[in-house]
Every structure is written in C-alpha cells, then in structure tokens.
C-alpha cells in the first residue's frame, strides 16, 4: 500500500470535520451576547428558526412530538432549519435519499400547510390545538392515504414518513439516542456533537 499525501492528509481532515460540524451551530444573540448554540440549546433559548416561521416551527414541534416522543426537546426544528440553510449537496436530511428534488424547504412548507388545512377541514382548528388523542388519530389516518382536505402535492404518507424519520434521527440516531436505547455507539470517528 502506497503512503501518499492523501493518507497524511487524513489526520488534517479532522479539522475539516470540526469545521463542517460547525454547520450545525446556530449563531444567536441571547441576552445581547452573541453565541453559537447547538440545536437543542437553541430550542431551549427560543432562538428563531429561520427559514421556518414561528407558526411553522410550532407545528413541526407538535407534529414531530406526536410521531416520536421527545422530538421537540431533542431539537427537531432547529435540526431541520440548520439543514435547510445548507446547499442540498451538503444536506444530512433523509429526504436526500428519497429522490425528492430540492429545494427541500418547499417539501416541508407544503406539507405543513397541508397538514393544518386538513386538520382545519376536519376539526375546525389547528393541528397544534388538537389534544393528544385527536392528534394521534389524525396521524394514523395520514399514514396510508391523504386525509380529507389535504392540499399539497406532497402525499400525506410521504410527509409523515419523512418527518417521522427526521424525528427518529434526532431522538434515536445520535450518541445520546443510542445511550437511551442502551446500544454501545462504538464510533470510529464520533460526531462532534448532538448529531
């Protein structure tokens, strides 16, 4: 095996890894102090979630938490926001695997609107206003078919599948998530933070 410059550079790549991981950090001014926060920290400090609106962020948290317990607390909305602010070639979203054409924000925005429209048509209120039983029933109905009032070209079952997978990523796919499941992580190169 030839020892090339490439192999020597492998160690330097650790620096690149650290730089890349900073893409997950969110620049925020909290109490007048500029900080770099991880998504779950940003969530705890109510940092804005550009490119989502506040209403969209709340809906993602509510919907995601019905799908996967602790999704909101694990920083789902900030994870999505951080990824959607990156070029699609750098995206770590599972949507990348599903041959959905970018921009990925259109997928989420369209699905969220359709979710609220459909809930409005059935319950005359927003998804976020549903009680837990109503929310679970509604989600189960959208697993296999578009519910009444679904207005998006994104099929409801696909939207459900993707957001559930996103929520699984942040809750169970991290080092913390493995620990929760009592699975040894055993990384060769550990992710530098939550993701």
């Amino acid at each position: 095996m030839h020892i090339s410059d490439r192999m020597m550079r492998a160690t330097l790549s650790r620096r690149r890894l650290l730089e890349a991981s900073s893409a997950f950090l969110i620049a925020a001014s909290v109490g007048g102090i500029d900080q770099m926060l991880w998504p779950h920290e940003a969530r705890a400090k109510n940092v804005p979630v550009d490119p989502f609106s506040e209403a969209e962020a709340l809906l993602i948290e509510k919907f995601g938490s019905v799908l996967v317990t602790d999704a909101a607390e694990s920083g789902l909305v900030h994870f999505l926001a951080a990824q959607l602010n990156r070029p699609h070639a750098d995206s770590l979203l599972i949507l990348r695997y599903l041959d959905v054409p970018p921009p990925y924000l259109d997928f989420y925005r369209s699905g969220l609107k359709a979710l609220n429209d459909a809930v409005q048509s059935v319950h005359k209120k927003s998804f976020a206003s549903l009680d837990q039983r109503q929310a679970v029933e509604f989600v189960k109905a959208m697993m296999s078919a578009n519910p009444v009032g679904w207005s998006s070209p994104v099929p409801a079952p696909l939207f459900y599948f993707v957001v559930r997978a996103d929520a699984v990523d942040v809750v169970y796919g991290t080092m913390k998530g493995f620990e929760k499941l009592n699975i040894p992580y055993m990384g060769h190169i550990d992710p530098t933070e939550a993701w």
Binding site: H2, R16, D90, G173, M186, P191
Partner: protein, 522 residues
C-alpha cells in the same frame, strides 16, 4: 474556455472501477487524470453516524426517477472520490456461471459476451489485492476460484439465531464473502465489528473502499484525482475518435485532451454523458449507433425481513453487510411462477435510524408505542435481506430529461418497472423470509415494502454492435479509444452484489488496454 495539457488517459468518475483503472494504467507509466463531479474525501471525513453518512450519497444534478417501480437513485449512488464504493458494505460474492448465459440457457434476457471462466483469474487477482475474508468451501454454490486470502469474519449471536431458521428449512448458509479484513492484511488492521461500514470505514479495514489503497496507490504512481470537476461532454476529432473531455471546475469551462477516454461514472451518469455528447455527425449520442445507450437498466429487488426474538441478539455487533450469505437456491428457474436468482444476506449489524434502521422497519408505530418497540428491538431484533435478480428489459432505461442543468446539459431520467417475474419472486421471498424467521424462533416477523439496491446496465456489453454499446473489455463498438467501466456494462444483474464483478471487469479491461495501447490510443 481553458485547455490544459494532454493526458494519456482521462477517466470520468473516481468510483471503484475508475480508481482501479487509474492505478493500473498509472503503474504502467501512463499519464492519468481522473475527474469526478463530487467532493474530495479523506478518511478523517468518515464520521460514524447514519446521519453524517448521507454526505457520501448523491449530491449532484437532480436525477428524475419514474416508472411503475421507480429506482431509488440517491441512496444507491455515490458522491465524490470513492463513489458508491466509499459507502458500500463490502459484500463481495462472485457472479455465477448461469448469470453469464441467461439468454442461451433460459431464452430470457441477454448473454454476456464472456463466460465466468474469462473472469475467474481476475476475480482471483482482485480478491488477493483488495483482501477478502470468507470460507470458500462453505459456499457450496461458489464457482471455481482460489480460496479467500483471509478467514471468515466473526459472527455474533444474531447470526447464530437466524442460522437456526435456515438449518431447520434445509437451506445452506456460509460466512459472507467480504472485502473486509478479518485479520491484519497488507499492513491494514482487522475489522472491529462496530457496524459503521456504510458510513465509510476510516480504519483501513474495508479494502473495497477506494480511499483505503486504490486511490493512494494510483496517486503514488502519478495519477491525478481532481474533485469538483463535472464532465459535460466527451470531445471527438474529425475522424470520430475521442480526444478529450469538456468539464466544469470552479464554474469555468475547461477542456483536457487525452489519447484515450474511460467513462466510469455510474449506470445513470455514463449514459447521460454519452447521450449529451451528441454531435451533428452523431445526433443520437456518442457510441450509440445501436440505440442501446441507456437501455437495459437494472437494479436488485430488495426484500427486508425483520423478526423479534425473546433473547439478546447482539445485533449492534458485526458489519453493515451481513454475517452469513445463502445462494443455496440461486438457480433461476427453480421456483414455479417466478424467474430469477436470489440470495439472502443474514444478520447485518443494525442501527436505530436511517433507511435500513429498525425504526423505519415499523413505520406504523409512533410515540410511546414506537419507544417501547425501539427498546425491544435494540435487544431482540433479527434482520436479513434478500436480493432478487431483475431480468434486463429494453424499456427500463436512462434517458435525457427535458430539464437541463445550469450548464445547459440535459438531466438524466430513469424509467423503471419490475416485471411480473420480479414481483412474483418478491412475494416468494417475503413468504420464505417469514418462514425462516419463524423457524429461527421469532415471536413475530414483518417485511416493509420492497426497495431497490444497486444499479447495473444502461451501457451493456455484447458481441453484436447493433445490439450493445461495448465489447467485453468495455471498448465501445463505435469509438475504439472510448471505454466504459463499471456495472453499466452488465448485460444481466444476477443476484450477487456487483462490486466484485466491477473490479474483475476493470482489471481485465486494464490488461487489454495496456496490451493494445498503441492500437487503441489516439
């Protein structure tokens, strides 16, 4: 537009085939430039995470996927130096003799222009060079070949339990043949069985990863690998021979001249490039006088079977590939009402999230039910997958879409449908998989909707220039100094993972190119 100095060989695509050819040709003193549209990766980039590994999958121009059973492109395609082999699982079975003679033996599909015997020595050479672990004697279905240079990988509890089911049904299994070190090999360490293979193996245990040795070795012999360089078209001279490529780097159009061009992109981007290289003289695309460029696109039909057991399966231990393989019932016409080969890959290491994670295996569960399932699965889940053969069909194809990229080149569109034989085989495999799980002691078993894995065809090899794109060396019938490498050449898919055959074919092509250099090169 800038023209850079002349190369002997320009290779499009730095996946396994392109990297191996670069190594072989550079070793012989040729000046070799490899252009790849994706980024440069190094071992330190290969973070152990199912989330981070997504960076290694396709991130280039949008590929449209359509048809009755759309092909799952982005998950299967690589992105950047190393290509799909950077994140492949290292499962390296050989094709079987039957796979090369489907048309003549069964009256279906296509024949290869070569037989297994033509590739055997190349399989043998590659398994020694890359380093394969396995137990050749236990693979009773394996065609003739040298024993593996390393003993089989370790197996864990999950494999022991699932093997009970195969044994009970009289189906033979063997340790998986893997391009992963079971012991120290060529100065590289053995696997530590943490199951992060598809995130890229940064410890040099997975020899099938081109970053492990192929690319460094090629560079050591002077080959240049240039990332972030998207080839737009292959250029030809007045006589119709290839004389270079046009590509984009840093948003600037550049050309490089070459005496021989090898397209080793993948079965989607290779046809796209040939079709986009149309000229007034060749309006149907380059190397396409047969009108078969893009045709006979194939994938492996994938069936996942999960089972829950009342015992600790140690399912986090092992490799992403599998612990065991079974090609015991590989014969194509063995099952009434179906046609095509299949294999089982048994007891891979499992992870909670991502496409192959166990959460997606039960996508009907949410909230507290999901959490309870995740905790049970982390201990008691068993997992195996079947790969089924797809017969080559002319209408399964890669074609140019109406949409163009930012440089004015048409995007690729993949049109794909599984035929009734493949669907019948899928049904058969679900039933057999659940029966195996039950016989192994699973308290319940389930199978998510079928998926697709690997890509093959699109620029198939053949004897007849009117019915195929290239000969058995990958030399296009129309242009003597234009070669194709990779699984796009496969006329049939078999049911074996393709990388070992990609390697053997590229090794054979390299020999041919060097032996005939003066007659081939511009």
């Amino acid at each position: 537009m800038t023209t850079i100095n002349q190369q002997d060989v320009v290779i499009v695509g730095a996946g396994f085939a392109g990297s191996l050819l670069a190594k072989r040709l550079a070793e012989q003193g040729l000046r070799v430039l490899v252009l790849d549209s994706g980024p440069e990766w190094n071992m330190g980039d290969l973070t152990s995470s199912q989330i981070w590994t997504r960076r290694l999958k396709w991130g280039g121009e949008i590929v449209e996927t359509t048809g009755k059973n759309p092909f799952g492109h982005n998950f299967n395609a690589g992105w950047g130096l190393g290509g799909a082999a950077l994140h492949h699982y290292g499962t390296w079975p050989r094709l079987q003799e039957d796979d090369f003679k489907m048309a003549s033996r069964y009256g279906r599909g296509l024949d290869w222009p070569i037989s297994y015997a033509d590739l055997r020595s190349h399989y043998d050479r590659m398994q020694k060079e890359i380093g394969l672990s396995g137990d050749a004697a236990a693979e009773v279905w394996r065609p003739d070949g040298d024993p593996y240079p390393m003993p089989a990988l370790k197996t864990f509890r999950q494999a022991d339990v699932l093997k009970r089911g195969f044994d009970a049904l009289g189906i033979q299994t063997a340790p998986v043949p893997a391009a992963i070190n079971s012991v120290e090999y060529n100065g590289r360490p053995p696997c530590i069985y943490d199951g992060w293979c598809d995130a890229g193996c940064p410890i040099y245990a997975l020899g099938g990863n081109p970053l492990t040795a192929l690319i460094p070795d090629a560079e050591g012999h002077g080959a240049v690998f240039q990332a972030n360089s998207t080839v737009l078209r292959i250029l030809t001279d007045k006589s119709g021979l290839a004389d270079g490529v046009e590509y984009i780097q840093d948003n600037a159009r550049q050309t490089v001249q070459a005496r021989l061009v090898i397209v080793a992109a993948n079965p989607v981007q290779t046809p796209r490039l040939l079709l986009n290289s149309a000229t007034d003289q060749r309006p149907q695309g380059l190397a396409n006088s047969s009108a078969t460029v893009g045709r006979y696109f194939m994938t492996h039909m994938l069936i996942n079977i999960f089972g829950m057991f009342d015992e600790d399966m140690e399912n986090h231990m092992g490799v992403s590939s599998a612990s065991l393989i079974s090609q015991d019932h590989y014969q194509k016409d063995l099952r009434s009402g179906t046609f095509g080969s299949y294999q089982w890959l048994v007891a891979p290491a499992v992870k909670p999230n991502d496409i192959a994670g166990f959460a997606i295996g039960r996508s009907d569960l949410i909230g507290d039910e999901l959490d309870a399932f995740m905790k049970r699965a982390a201990r008691g889940l068993g997992y195996m997958l079947a790969m089924g053969e797809e017969i080559p069909h002319f209408d399964n194809r890669v074609e140019l879409a109406e949409q163009k990229d930012q440089y004015g080149m048409a995007r690729a569109r993949v049109v794909h449908e599984l035929d009734k034989d493949a669907m019948a085989l899928a049904d058969y495999l679900v039933k057999q998989g659940k029966a195996i799980m039950k016989a192994a002691g699973a308290t319940e078993s389930w199978s998510p909707p079928q998926a697709t894995a690997h890509m093959m065809g699109g620029t198939v090899m053949g004897l007849d220039p009117k019915k195929s794109v290239a000969d058995s060396y990958g030399k296009t019938h129309d242009v003597r100094n234009l070669f194709i490498a990779g699984s796009g050449l496969f006329p049939t898919s078999g049911a074996s993972n393709p990388t070992f055959t990609i390697a053997a074919l590229a090794d054979r092509s390299a020999d041919y190119i060097m032996q005939n250099w003066s007659a081939l090169a511009l």
